[in-house]
């Protein structure tokens, strides 16, 4: 008879461990992703192929100087957004398909699951940004006069992409036609963010001395609002 421990397990103390649980979920997702590269491949392949197609078609000379800041910002954000949409739903869809979602529901709290998955999605977006943005700037010879503003805009924009889509990924995990539905549902919510980031990147490229970076503030507001709303609504989506 294997000996059993009868001492009572120490139950968790309250909110203090929300973060530990979220980090545990995040690391588990990262470890699984590292071993299978399931979502990362989807995102990076999409981004790299689109980028090559765009830079091949347009090249660094086709669009004249004055138009570049705006048009390149539009192209960059289209690549970033649609690459994100091709991979960010994977973390929930994979749990649903593998059947691990029930066990997770029985052991973790909804808010911890949301934060964990959000952190995982942001890590994917980080990888996407780090790979795609510099390559885009090089390939397209994108002249940026205000790099600090530009990078902050990219970072807050990616934060927004993660914040806006994580809860949608949870909603569509079990629906039919998942991939398409994920994009159809996410895009209307991401449009305001995209418009803001495009404008921000354009001004950063021109080197417009816009003190206060209004676009970054708007994007940060978007991130905060989407995360707060998602934290409220996630348990409704997560539980039956």
């Amino acid at each position: 008879m294997p000996q059993t421990k009868s001492v009572k397990r120490t139950t968790r103390t309250e909110s203090s461990t929300y973060l530990n649980e979220a980090i545990a979920i995040w690391f588990r997702d990262m470890r699984s992703e590292f071993r299978t590269r399931y979502a990362l491949n989807a995102i990076l392949m999409f981004a790299v192929t689109t980028l090559i197609a765009v830079s091949f078609a347009i090249g660094s000379f086709r669009i004249d100087e004055s138009e570049r800041p705006f048009l390149y910002a539009v192209l960059l954000w289209i690549i970033l957004t649609f690459s994100a949409l091709s991979g960010l739903s994977r973390s929930f869809v994979k749990e649903e398909e593998a059947g691990t979602i029930d066990v997770l529901k029985l052991s973790a709290r909804p808010q911890a699951v949301f934060l964990g998955k959000l952190l995982f999605n942001l890590s994917l977006l980080g990888a996407l940004g780090v790979v795609i943005v510099p390559t885009f700037i090089l390939l397209m010879a994108y002249q940026i006069n205000f790099p600090v503003f530009f990078t902050t805009m990219i970072i807050t924009g990616c934060l927004g992409l993660g914040a806006g889509t994580t809860i949608i990924a949870a909603m569509i995990a079990r629906a039919s036609g998942r991939g398409a539905l994920f994009s159809v549902l996410s895009l209307p919510l991401l449009l305001p963010l995209m418009i803001t980031c495009i404008k921000g990147c354009e001004r950063a490229a021109i080197g417009y001395d816009s003190a206060g970076w209004p676009e970054v503030k708007i994007a940060v507001a978007y991130v905060i609002i989407m995360i707060t709303m998602s934290l409220f609504l996630f348990s409704l989506v997560w539980e039956e």
Partner: protein, 205 residues
């Protein structure tokens, strides 16, 4: 002291009715078996008890040391095994257990996980990734995951599936031991598993 009270539970999907007016009450040491034809809704009933599915009618109440346990914190009191469940294939057995231990907020992760793995006879497979586990070993790992936090309520949906004779004895030991901790509810069609229980509830009557 743990009590599970189920009153008038019913479930229907669209127009198809699964079951209605199911009521029972279980106290520490009780083992209930739920039987019925395929599609009678055994698994759904267990999922309702676990809080994974919302019943169309009726209520599930839990009391720990006399105090009612509301829905949000029932997670801590429930351990469940079901054929539809599976654990993370990319992780090893031990990594799976440690993940669930941290996510459940159990403090002494390490050795307790190994103990539980030992209890289901998986201690020498702890380092292998679950993808290489046989279906019997996966079933044992699911049992280990359900026992990790020593839940007063143990829900077993066809616990013996894919298990060899040694696995079956482990399940029997677990059920015997659970009598000292709290309540067990087994959903199964096999007579052997129904006989573990002292009360039987047939959904198809």
């Amino acid at each position: 002291m743990f009590t599970l009270r189920v009153s008038d539970i019913g479930k229907h999907y669209g127009e198809t009715l699964l079951f209605r007016n199911i009521s029972f009450e279980l106290h520490k040491g009780d083992v209930l078996a739920i039987t019925g034809w395929n599609g009678a809704g055994k698994s759904t009933l267990l999922r309702i008890l676990a809080g994974l599915v919302r019943p169309s009618a009726g209520a599930v109440e839990m009391f720990f040391n006399g105090k009612p346990v509301e829905k949000e914190s029932r997670r801590r009191f429930i351990g469940m095994v079901a054929p539809a469940f599976s654990l993370y294939d990319e992780l090893t057995g031990l990594e799976n257990m440690e993940f669930f231990a941290t996510v459940r907020g159990l403090s002494d992760g390490g050795d307790h996980c190994l103990d539980t793995l030992h209890r289901v006879g998986l201690s020498d497979h702890a380092g292998k990734t679950c993808r290489d586990y046989s279906s019997g070993m996966k079933q044992r790992l699911k049992l280990a995951q359900a026992l990790l936090h020593e839940p007063p309520l143990l829900l077993l949906d066809e616990p013996g599936s894919n298990l060899d004779s040694r696995g079956i004895t482990i399940v029997e030991e677990i059920i015997a031991e659970q009598r000292t901790l709290g309540v067990t509810v087994i959903a199964s069609n096999e007579k052997r598993e129904a006989d573990y229980a002292d009360r039987v509830f047939n959904l198809s009557e």
